[in-house]
Amino acid sequence: MKAFTRIAAIALSVVFVAGLLAGVLAPAHYAKQFREDASASPSGKFLLGTDELGRDRFSRLLYGSRVSLLLAPCAALLSTLLAALIGGAAGYFGGRWEKSAMLFTDLFMSMPWLFLLITVRAVLPLNTAPTTSVLITFSLLGLLGWAASARVVCSGTKSLRNSEFVLQAKAAGCRAGRLFAVHMLPNLKPVLFAQFWISIPVFILAEANLGILGLGVSEPLPSWGSLLRELEDFSAIGLQPWRLVPLFLLLMVVSCFQMVISEKEYSR
């Protein structure tokens, strides 16, 4: 199992580095249109062919990987911070604080994640600049994806609050802020790290769902979600099976994340 995890970690690193170096590795800019080569098949010049606007699919895949792989962790960081803030405060203060925070959390969790995401994304402007659409999409993922993590953080904080070392620190006159920052936060780190890692593949998949439905990143900027929109033209997939490459890459990356996460969970 460890060998598989190692391979998964290496594969993730390769895709991540390739995405980071998209500007260097990509043969063309993601928006450049080779009008004379529109809908071309894979060749030495265009490794994955071109789309109907003549844009190099391989270059778009590299740039798309950069957008998805850099911004999903940012969204995961935002959601983990929110979970730490809401769940941590609820667990630390307890009583009415905990009840109200958990009611708020239940409210978010009572709606299926995709329903909430699609509804909120659809009511926000869709015809925005590509960079704005990237910010809207990933901020939304971060802002709406904290609820499940907050529950875990709350229960972790609650058990820490009642632990002996915290009680002793309280008895020694340690103030609430210092108690939380110095004594509790370091012990919550493993929980927060786990929630951060678990959120990344979830957000990558959510962005892909939004992209396929046309609610993700705006053209011409590519992301895995917007690249998968090409699959909506079913009739062309049989003739151009290389259109499925972004789907296979997404499948591979999310699987690698799942393998690394399960190995981390087993080793804890």
Binding site: S110, A122, A208
Partner: protein
């Protein structure tokens, strides 16, 4: 006598818990509806339509189009009116479909419930048969096969799964089964694996009881409460998956309706759908937990 009073107090506390749960259920439902209404009301461009850009319209006609949304501008008033209508069975009129919402829901709710029902049954059948066979065979190769198979479906976006189903000319609603399957399979497999290590199971096997008998009589009954709780959670999974699947596969259910309502910023319809989706999710979770609790107390 003592056991009778203990039973009475248990009954009272169960009734109190039920009432508390009911209150929380209604508060959550009201807040969810309000949240949905607030989001749409304060979304940029609310109340504007492309019709207003028609240069042939006179200023009076443009004003009339704006006034059509006047009743929805005051959020508190809109929500209070909506709740008042809800008690009399009037759910309002959809602004994008120009039809009574009750009519739309009557047409589409059975379609989605059917799709979710099929998806749940197939997903659970697949998941439980794979998990049970993995437990019975105890083969590393078979375990790897089931893990990889469920992993593939777990790592595919729901919308892409719907597209693949259309590509294979398979009914789109069955895609819901493949969303439910991997999540249920992984949980059930882990649950069976944990139960298999319990001392009474090891003793039963050591005494020579057949694996199927051990599974049916000794592993499944103690795991039943957790399975019922998972059943409730899987309804929420199926409902969430129904939205992109119905939108892509063109299934005229409430998933597609939610998608069209969101794009059309149809406030009355969206608030109703938010309430329905939240109610179904909460009720499913609640029913699952109630079954689990009653099984636990029965076993105790």
């Amino acid at each position: 006598m003592a056991s009778g009073s203990a039973e009475n107090s248990r009954g009272r506390s169960a009734a109190r818990r039920f009432l508390q749960r009911l209150v929380v259920f209604f508060i959550t439902l009201l807040l969810a509806g309000l949240l949905g209404a607030t989001l749409v009301r304060f979304a940029p461009g609310f109340g504007l339509s492309t019709e207003q850009l028609d240069t042939r319209l006179t200023p009076e006609s443009v004003q009339a189009l704006r006034d059509a949304h006047a009743g929805e501008r005051n959020l508190a008033l809109f929500y209070a009116r909506f709740l008042g209508g809800l008690f009399t069975g009037n759910l309002g009129t959809s602004s994008s479909f120009k039809r009574p919402i009750t009519e739309l829901l009557r047409e589409r709710l059975p379609v989605t419930l059917g799709a979710i029902g099929w998806g749940m049954v197939l997903g659970w059948l697949l998941a439980s048969s794979f998990a049970a066979s993995a437990w019975l065979f105890r083969s590393r190769t078979y375990d790897l096969f089931t893990t990889v198979l469920s992993g593939i479906f777990l790592c595919l976006p729901t919308a892409a799964l719907a597209i693949l189903f259309l590509l294979m000319r398979a009914p789109g609603r069955f895609a819901i089964a493949l969303v439910v399957f991997p999540n249920v399979f992984r949980y059930v497999r882990n649950l069976l694996a944990t139960s298999g290590e319990l001392p009474h199971i090891i003793t039963a096997r050591a005494k020579g009881l057949g694996p199927s008998r051990v599974l049916l009589w000794h592993v499944l009954p103690p795991a039943a409460p957790q399975l019922f709780a998972l059943l409730g959670v899987s309804v929420s999974m199926a409902l969430g998956a129904a939205i992109p699947i119905e939108a892509i596969a063109g299934i005229p259910g409430i998933g597609q309706l939610a998608w069209q309502a969101a794009l059309g910023r149809d406030l009355p319809l969206l608030v109703n759908l938010t309430l329905i989706v939240t109610a179904v999710t909460l009720l499913a979770n609640w029913a699952g937990e109630l079954f689990a609790q009653s099984l636990r107390s029965h076993a105790a």
